[in-house]
Symmetry: C2
């Protein structure tokens, strides 16, 4: 891989993310879910049951994308759709018992993956790293003073 590129921040972020998501996928493999699906389970395991649209908004995906995500989880017996009695347009999506068990075990493995991923760092370094990362992930706009850079106002809503 290009030595030249290894000092570029974008490259580093991309590949750190890639490595991490691959580790996560391996750890979850025998559970029969992937990281994406675990994230959906996390969101759906809310205090109050969520509609598909609620969950989609939480996850930052389109509602049409949510249909497929729920389809997958339902096919695995991890969640169930039911019509909301309050508003019959809405599908309330709830975890089954199997879904809750899978979520718990998935979360355990996820913690372990994070721990392994940061294992080479001292606790102080790991803390700092995560703190910085939170800031960079939150930063919706990182303005670069660029004269004619078109003042792009594209809004990334998550």
């Amino acid at each position: 891989m290009a030595e030249l590129l290894t000092s570029r921040l974008g490259y580093l972020l991309k590949h750190a993310q890639l490595n991490f998501s691959q580790s996560g996928a391996r750890a979850l493999e025998s559970l029969g879910i992937n990281g994406r699906q675990l994230a959906v389970l996390v969101v759906l395991d809310a205090a109050e049951p969520l509609s598909q649209l609620d969950a989609a908004n939480e996850l930052g995906v389109d509602r049409t994308t949510m249909v497929a995500l729920v389809d997958e989880l339902e096919a695995k017996g991890l969640v169930e759709r039911r019509r909301s009695p309050d508003d019959r347009r809405k599908n309330i999506v709830e975890l089954t018992a199997h879904g809750k068990n899978t979520l718990a075990e998935g979360e355990r493995r996820h913690q372990q993956t994070e721990k392994a991923f940061l294992a080479d760092l001292t606790p102080i370094e790991a803390d700092l790293f995560v703190r910085i990362l939170k800031k960079l992930a939150a930063d919706a706009e990182a303005p670069v003073d660029q004269p004619e850079a078109a003042t792009g106002k594209e809004k990334k809503e998550d």
Copy 2:
């Protein structure tokens, strides 16, 4: 966005990367290239001219993907293909004068984007962050000691 998810490392890496690449795209917009294309220019601006396959290997993409990348840059007049005299199967890809200018200005803006992105950090923090990121990006294998104690029984592959 889901508060629950903001503490997940994968989420943070993904969105930090997303924010950064969007900043980069904005900064490069008026130059008529995107971050991807700048990275290709960086690779192609090597000491010795590269073939498409060389460049593809440097970038970590397939040679079929490289065709399209070179097509784009050539359409913009930033690079030129020429048949290698040594091995006529190979396309040597070289930057045009316009390509070199664009690369220089793109690099300048890229530096500025990185600087802006890390602006909130002290130099020490920024250094540490990049150092950690390099380690995590390099980590090809992040072994997770697999517990094997799965709650869910089925092994479902879609």
